[in-house]
């Protein structure tokens, strides 16, 4: 009886605290939006669906079956559906990761540790390929190496050399690996830069004093210290490449070259929904394994090698000597080729009246400002007059804006709960649940929402085809990042700042509005901008959920590319690329002029 009494006291007290109420509410909603779709996805793969009657006579909708799993893993179809794509995924993933890491690592060393000139402007150009949609790089590649043998108009390569490029150069493993590497090397570059910047050159100097040669220092001191960061970069980059959809689709599908991600799309297009879901699960498992590996082996190691920064920390620059200018030229050329050339190519392509004829007389602004002309591009008007595109612009901005704002606010609330209730198990759970979307390759996540919201679900109507669903998935997909930025922002706000307001009699809501939000705002705004740009260039996540009425720039660009309306798709992707670059520029500018007084530490 007594324990019961205490329990009910505890309960009323817990429920009186608005933060606890919020915690429970958020946990419920997030479980529904993150965990439940995953179970639903698994459930779909082991249940007969309505459409399965045309696949098998034994199908009884609603009954349990292993049919889909067997079809995918052990049937005459499996090599086409699963094993070939799986090998392709691993192949392109590994090659591109190795290339990205090599390029990223070398460039990081040049920029952080050497006296190479022009660092200030090399760095932003080197990150450009990661800022623009991966799709843009794929389109640029295609415009160079397109081959009429496969179909369509010739690319620049053929126009210049008057011979068609070999197929391996146009489609398949090679172009996919290279373009993936171009898109992801800045990611590896940033990770390695971070690791290199933490090396105290006194470590190297003390090796120098003990008589070690430069090579020996690099081999025995520098490399072992950055090795964990390298390994982490490797696994994270690999994990990212396998979820890529648009890029391998563009450079693979014309020759029936599929990765698991593109196969999800292709099987869905064929109406083999449950098999697509099996493939989605395969993707998720691969991604989980990569993250698990990175945590298990790298997480521990990097903790052991954590360099202590503080007093006497110095980062000495290595003099390149007479190699300074040649290396600079090489890096600058590389930066131009991967950062600027693809955008120039896109722009160039969007100005050609007839695709593939590289002649001055062929230039036109039709695809930008022209009215509808039945002679050109099936009558599609130019970008500025095209309702399809103008509508997509608004949808894109609206989607990016809403998702960024909502994700940041929810991220801030979750971060607040996680930071302020460090010993609460439910708060820890909330933290973990909000991180889960990071583990889902985006096309697999899209597949989950497709299964979940295709039909009415309890009190929630069928959201498929609505704009709300796009916002929902974008918000949930951004949560791991927005919680992370939120935690950084909240941790900087001392608990005492809030306690001082509590002593003054301010309620929790009052405190959150007047103290927490203003102080976290600069960090949260940055996070919001990052999300805005991220949602804008996203395609893999929402491609399965988009309908004509909810089209966004990326999806329209993808559709035009599928239909072979090259100029329009190039123009659209160029618009997205420019928008994201503007977004990044704003971020960069905001990062420089952040309120100094908010960041200054107390004495």
């Amino acid at each position: 009886m007594e324990t019961l009494l205490i329990r009910s006291d505890f309960l009323t007290k817990t429920l009186k605290d608005p933060v606890n109420l919020l915690l429970i509410a958020l946990l419920t909603v997030l479980s529904y939006l993150i965990l439940w779709p995953f179970f639903e996805l698994i459930l779909q793969t082991i249940t007969w669906g309505d459409g399965d009657r045309r696949l098998s006579r034994a199908a009884i909708p609603g009954e349990h079956t292993w049919f889909h799993w067997l079809q995918v893993t052990a049937s005459p179809l499996s090599s086409k559906i699963l094993y070939e794509p799986l090998i392709n995924t691993l192949k392109t993933g590994l090659i591109s990761t190795v290339l990205a890491l090599l390029a990223g690592g070398m460039l990081a060393w040049c920029v952080v540790r050497s006296d190479i000139p022009g660092k200030n402007w090399l760095q932003p150009i080197l990150t450009l390929p990661y800022i623009v949609p991966s799709f843009a790089i794929a389109l640029a590649w295609e415009s160079l190496f397109r081959s009429p043998k496969v179909g369509g108009q010739p690319g620049l390569y053929q126009a210049l050399f008057d011979l068609s490029p070999p197929e391996w150069l146009s489609y398949g493993t090679f172009p996919i690996s290279v373009t993936l590497a171009i898109h992801y090397f800045p990611f590896a570059y940033l990770l390695v830069c971070g690791a290199l910047a933490t090396i105290d050159s006194q470590m190297e100097e003390s090796a120098l004093i003990s008589g070690a040669s430069r090579m020996m220092i690099l081999r025995r001191v520098t490399f072992p210290v950055v090795a964990p960061a390298f390994a982490a970069a490797f696994i994270l980059t690999f994990g990212k490449t396998i979820g890529q959809f648009a890029l391998p689709f563009l450079l693979g599908a014309p020759t029936q070259f599929h990765t698991v991600a593109t196969m999800v799309y292709a099987t869905l297009a064929l109406g083999l929904d449950s098999m697509a879901y099996v493939l989605a699960i395969v993707l998720i498992v691969m991604s989980l394994m990569a993250i698990w590996l990175s945590n298990r082996y790298v997480g521990k190691k990097s903790g052991r090698f954590e360099t202590i920064s503080g007093k006497g920390f110095r980062n000495r620059q290595v003099s390149l000597g007479s190699w300074r200018w040649p290396i600079f030229l090489g890096v600058a050329l590389f930066a131009f080729v991967v950062g600027i050339l693809p955008l120039l190519l896109l722009g160039y392509q969007s100005l050609m009246l007839f695709d593939g004829f590289f002649d001055l007389s062929n230039f036109t602004l039709h695809f930008w400002i022209g009215e509808s002309d039945p002679e050109i591009a099936m009558g599609e008007p130019g970008v500025l007059h095209n309702h399809n595109i103008v509508g997509a612009v608004w949808n894109t901005l609206e989607l990016a804006f809403l998702s960024a704002v909502i994700a940041s606010l929810i991220g801030l609330l979750i971060a607040y709960i996680v930071v302020r209730k460090p010993n609460n198990h439910l708060a820890k759970l909330l933290d973990q649940v909000s991180f889960i979307p990071f583990l889902f390759p985006s096309i697999a996540f899209g597949a989950m929402y497709l299964t979940m919201f295709a039909e009415p679900n309890g009190p929630i109507p069928a959201l498929y085809g609505t704009f709300t669903l796009l916002v929902l998935i974008s918000v949930v997909n951004r949560l791991p990042y927005s919680v992370k930025t939120g935690v950084t922002a909240i941790t900087q706000i001392g608990k005492e700042l809030e306690e001082a307001a509590e002593v003054a009699g301010a309620s929790w809501r009052h405190r959150f509005q007047k103290i927490v939000i203003p102080l976290a705002s600069s960090g949260a705004l940055t996070g919001m901008m990052v999300s805005f740009v991220g949602v804008m260039r996203e395609l893999s996540l929402i491609i399965l959920l988009i309908t004509p009425s909810t089209r966004v720039l990326m999806s329209v660009g993808f559709n035009y590319a599928e239909e072979g309306l090259t100029q329009l798709s190039h123009a659209l992707v160029l618009i997205v690329a420019v928008l994201t670059i503007i977004g990044e520029l704003i971020l960069w500018w905001a990062g420089k002029s952040k309120f100094v007084r908010l960041r200054e530490k107390e004495t």
């Binding site: 006291d9 007290k13 001392g494 005492e496 700042l497 306690e499 001082a500 307001a501 509590e502 002593v503 003054a504 009699g505 301010a506 309620s507 009052h510 007047k514 103290i515 203003p518 102080l519 100094v596 007084r597 908010l598 200054e600 107390e602 004495t603």
Partner: protein, 364 residues
């Protein structure tokens, strides 16, 4: 003005007992200082009074209002306890100006604008901060930030002031000045003040009464002078005073009434406690030393001499016993010199060797 009654307060963090059945009455208008080493529970006690921590058991009454009672399940939130607090880090809101920082509490109270302006003007003038009122905290020096924290507390005119090591972030010289100023403000407002510190000089100079705590227990509650002269147990004796008190474990040789020895030194304490094993507490200034003469030999030699302005601290070692003495600065001592030691019997405190508690000297 309110008094504060703390009754049988217990607070646990997991297995750690932060407050163990603490009872304490703080008189109205008193400047009470909670003193102790880190982890002794002093800050926890302060935060329990503030309502920032919820105790597990016990009762807290401020004035005539029960603000916490575990039995009746009462918990009044911090804002309704009519108290103000100065935090160790000051906890100034960095996005508000000096004036906005001080006005926050008044806004929460929904005080009419005119009245609030008047009160802020007075506080700002009193603190000499009028010209800095539109600055942001990061544009102020440490001492000025400290004043803003104090001003934030004064503006709300609470009945109880709570201060959590408010001077620990200031440099030594500024700390001296602020001690004087704080004491002045406390006296002029007459508010009941509870102040936490680990700095005994701060406690000794400012408090009307000092509470010494250790491991969640109150060791002694006394005015500063008494705390220094008559520490209630060996912990307090050892904790209070710089340089440290000399604590000698000594036994009574058979038959000798008031004479005790530790093997290296023999000492007549002047009265006869019941216990045969005691600890003798002698402050360094209660020792007198002079150079040993031929007919009165000593086995205590000077091992180090530490001049400290007007006084000199001398360490003497004899056998396995080490003693500290505080002597006038004009004595000229050499290392290794043998010294004769005598004690001021009246100033000695005698503790039970088993319990460590003070053995009361019979009256007269």
């Amino acid at each position: 003005m309110s008094n504060i009654k703390i009754q049988k307060l217990t607070k646990r963090y997991g297995d750690m007992l932060a407050l163990n059945d603490v009872s304490l009455t703080i008189e109205s208008g008193e400047f009470l200082i909670l003193l102790g080493p880190s982890g002794c529970g002093k800050t926890t006690l302060l935060r329990c009074i503030a309502g920032l921590e919820t105790p597990d058991e016990g009762q807290i009454i401020i004035g005539d209002k029960v603000v916490f009672c575990s039995e009746k399940n009462i918990f009044i939130s911090p804002g309704e306890r009519n108290l103000g607090m100065v935090f160790q880090s000051y906890a100034l809101w960095p996005h508000m100006t000096v004036r906005e920082n001080m006005k926050f509490g008044l806004d929460v109270m929904k005080m009419p604008v005119q009245q609030a302006d008047k009160r802020l003007a007075k506080v700002l003038t009193d603190l000499g901060m009028s010209e800095l009122q539109d600055r942001y905290p990061s544009e102020l020096s440490g001492g000025q930030q400290q004043r803003v924290a104090l001003g934030r507390l004064l503006a709300a005119e609470p009945a109880v002031f709570l201060m959590d090591e408010p001077l620990s972030n200031l440099d030594a010289r500024l700390r001296m000045d602020m001690r004087v100023e704080l004491k002045k403000f406390q006296a002029s407002t007459g508010s009941t003040t509870v102040y936490v510190t680990h700095d005994q000089t701060e406690a000794m100079t400012m408090a009307t009464r000092v509470v010494v705590m250790k491991n969640g227990n109150i060791q002694q509650v006394s005015p500063p002078t008494q705390l220094y002269k008559n520490p209630q147990n060996t912990f307090v004796a050892d904790f209070i005073g710089m340089p440290r008190i000399n604590l000698l474990s000594a036994k009574r040789p058979k038959g000798a009434g008031s004479v005790f020895t530790n093997g290296d030194i023999e000492l007549d304490i002047g009265w006869c406690p019941d216990q045969n094993e005691i600890i003798i507490g002698a402050r360094p200034e209660d020792l007198a030393i002079c150079k040993a003469t031929k007919h009165k030999s000593s086995n205590f030699a000077v091992s180090s001499v530490l001049p400290n302005g007007p006084e000199v601290i001398v360490q003497l070692i004899g056998g396995s016993t080490s003693l500290l003495a505080r002597v006038n600065h004009d004595v000229n001592l050499q290392q290794g010199e043998l010294m004769e030691i005598s004690f001021d019997k009246k100033a000695l405190n005698i503790y039970d060797a088993e319990t460590g508690q003070l053995i009361n000297r019979p009256e007269g």
